[in-house]
């Protein structure tokens, strides 16, 4: 659905991490943040509402 709406699906990530696996969770966060940095700012950051007014 995201792809259909023109949003890069790389921007959404789902991972299963147990609450007992803190290092795993941190690793997931860190790598995802890196990936997002490479993708650049989200197109959703533009305030479409203000443009209207």
């Amino acid at each position: 659905m995201l792809k259909f709406s023109g949003i890069d699906e790389e921007r959404l990530k789902a991972s299963w991490v147990s609450s007992a696996e803190a290092p795993e969770l941190v690793h997931e966060f860190d790598t995802f943040i890196e990936e997002l940095r490479e993708l650049g700012p989200s197109p959703l950051k533009v305030d479409y509402r203000k443009e209207l007014a």
Partner: protein
């Protein structure tokens, strides 16, 4: 077409098989929903056009739910097209209507309507009158799939930004029967802000249409801003078909795979 429907309804009313028939009536030059209870009322009956299934439509299933709630012991007849029939089937599986208390009188849609709706099944399972038209070609979803990502994004955002949050789409939707709606929850969707948060507002509704949308297209017809909602939900439907072989309302008794608990599923 309309004469055979009138005859059928008249017969059903006279034998007492149904206590009322929910259909369309032409009154003062307008077409409106009507609960027929006497044979003579059938004179002004309409099928959405003068004699055949036309493009004046109402969510008759939705009205039927209200009527059935008020008169749970009575059996009612209802005029159905392909989309209404899918809606009825879906409502049965969601326990919103009792199939024993509903008698559907089916009509088929003409080919031009089927093409305009891109309808996958422009006829109900039990047809009282009319010939089956062929399924309409699915063009609207393909047209967006053909765009590159950034074009799709600006296409949808330009559409969504027109939303005036009138809730017309959900008010007319026969599948919107929830007592509590997350889109009407003030904590999630702030009131007094226009347009609502996009695309989240429309995506939330799209997600809730998973396994529910019967592709009747009333939402898009009702939308005063002309947002191509049907295209959005058609995509939802096609994903369900691709991934789960699920066609809402088309296969009798098929339950949505997303709210089915199957203990054998994970063991395969």
């Amino acid at each position: 077409m309309i004469d055979s429907i009138k005859d059928k309804v008249k017969e059903l009313l006279e034998t007492g098989e149904i206590q009322g028939f929910l259909g369309l009536v032409r009154k003062n030059g307008h077409i409106a929903p009507h609960l027929f209870q006497k044979g003579e009322e059938l004179r002004d009956m309409s099928l959405g056009d003068n004699i055949i299934a036309g493009d004046s439509r109402y969510p008759l299933n939705k009205y039927l739910m209200n009527i059935a709630k008020a008169y749970p012991e009575e059996t009612f007849g209802v005029l159905v097209r392909g989309c209404d029939d899918r809606g009825l089937q879906a409502l049965y599986t969601w326990n919103q209507l009792n199939p024993k208390k509903v008698l559907a009188v089916g009509i088929t849609c003409p080919q031009d309507l089927a093409d305009a709706c891109e309808c996958l099944q422009p006829y109900p399972e039990n047809i009282t009158a009319g010939d089956c038209a062929k399924a309409g070609a699915q063009k609207s979803v393909a047209a967006i799939d053909a765009l590159v990502l950034s074009e799709r994004f600006s296409y949808w955002m330009d559409e969504f930004v027109k939303c005036i949050k009138c809730y017309g789409c959900s008010n007319i939707c026969p599948m919107c029967f929830c007592n509590e709606c997350s889109l009407k929850c003030d904590d999630l969707v702030k009131s007094g802000e226009l347009p609502p948060e996009i695309p989240v507002f429309h995506h939330t509704r799209a997600m809730h249409m998973v396994g529910r949308c019967v592709d009747c297209g009333l939402c898009e017809e009702a939308c005063p801003s002309g947002i191509p909602l049907r295209t959005l939900y058609k995509k939802v439907g096609s994903i369900m078909d691709d991934k789960f072989d699920f066609k809402t309302g088309m296969i009798r008794g098929q339950r949505s795979p997303l709210n089915k608990i199957d203990s054998t599923e994970g063991k395969k």
